[in-house]
């Protein structure tokens, strides 16, 4: 394959990925691939050249999201055990992917096992960073001695509730941007001794 042809192929793949992200975020994971082809301005068949199955396309989007979250958190060590900064960074990275993340939270239960497990792996990555800091603060008696998963799930529960009801809390707006400080303040006041 010539270099030019390879470049074109890579560009088409990127267009499909960007279009899929938009279409799935807006319409859900059951959106037809024809809608993605329209959005990407490519032929319907070309989607399957790059992604033989719709599941492989879902997985690709999840892996991209996972890599982005991973990169964000790996650049975080300078904040040490500052829980507030970690929570801020978590919400910031979710704001970058807000529509896609909201869709994931809403529909993860219907996704095939591998995609669902990738979502669990993403949360696992986040939990490593948050819980390292939270456990240090528990040992210093700054944070209440609550089981780690309950701390993590309470934090996710708050975020997910506001996301899923965004139409009530922040119509036509980013609910995470609007409630970022309130959610962090509330969570910290709940967990601190």
């Amino acid at each position: 394959m010539t270099e030019k042809r390879q470049l074109q192929k890579a560009q088409t793949r990127e267009r499909i990925i960007a279009a899929a992200l938009k279409v799935y975020s807006e319409q859900g994971f059951s959106a037809p691939t024809a809608a993605i082809a329209d959005e990407a301005n490519v032929s319907h068949g070309s989607i399957f050249v790059h992604f033989p199955t719709v599941e492989s396309l879902w997985l690709c989007l999840l892996e991209n999201f996972s890599q982005d979250i991973n990169a964000e958190f790996n650049s975080l060590s300078e904040y040490g055990n500052d829980i507030e900064r970690l929570l801020e960074r978590h919400i910031d990275v979710l704001i970058k992917h807000e529509d896609f993340y909201k869709r994931l939270v809403k529909e993860a239960v219907y996704l095939p096992e591998e995609e669902k497990n990738t979502f669990i792996a993403i949360q696992s990555m986040v939990s490593i960073h948050l819980l390292q800091a939270l456990e240090r603060e528990i040992s210093r008696k700054v944070v209440k001695n609550v089981p780690p998963h309950m701390l993590f799930n309470t934090w996710l529960g708050l975020i997910h509730y506001y996301l899923l009801n965004g139409d009530l809390f922040a119509p036509q707006d980013s609910v995470l941007k609007r409630y970022k400080s309130a959610l962090i303040e509330c969570f910290l006041s709940l967990i601190k001794q």
């Binding site: 991973n70 669990i120 696992s124 998963h149 309950m150 993590f152």
Partner: protein, 81 residues
């Protein structure tokens, strides 16, 4: 930056490496107390326990997620063929 061949964790600091030895390809969490690397079953068990501890999932769901994570790591490839 190296990532652990057994769990994928980025190893940024010397203390992240097994036995704090930067020549190792696996992390402190994937090492046994004597510094050797955990077996497939030990790692699966460990990852499952970690997911239960951090996310509170039921064991079967946590184990399925742990296997999915391990499947993506070249080091464990032979166990899934």
């Amino acid at each position: 930056m190296k990532t652990c061949i057994a769990c994928g964790m980025p190893m940024k600091n010397t203390s992240d490496f097994a036995m704090s030895d930067e020549s190792k390809d696996y992390c402190v969490y994937c090492a046994r107390p004597d510094g050797t690397m955990q077996s497939f079953d030990e790692k699966k068990e460990n990852m499952t326990d970690f997911i239960i501890k951090t996310q509170g999932l039921a064991r079967e769901a946590a184990e399925s997620a742990a296997l999915s994570m391990m499947k993506k790591l070249p080091h464990w490839k032979n166990h899934f063929d």
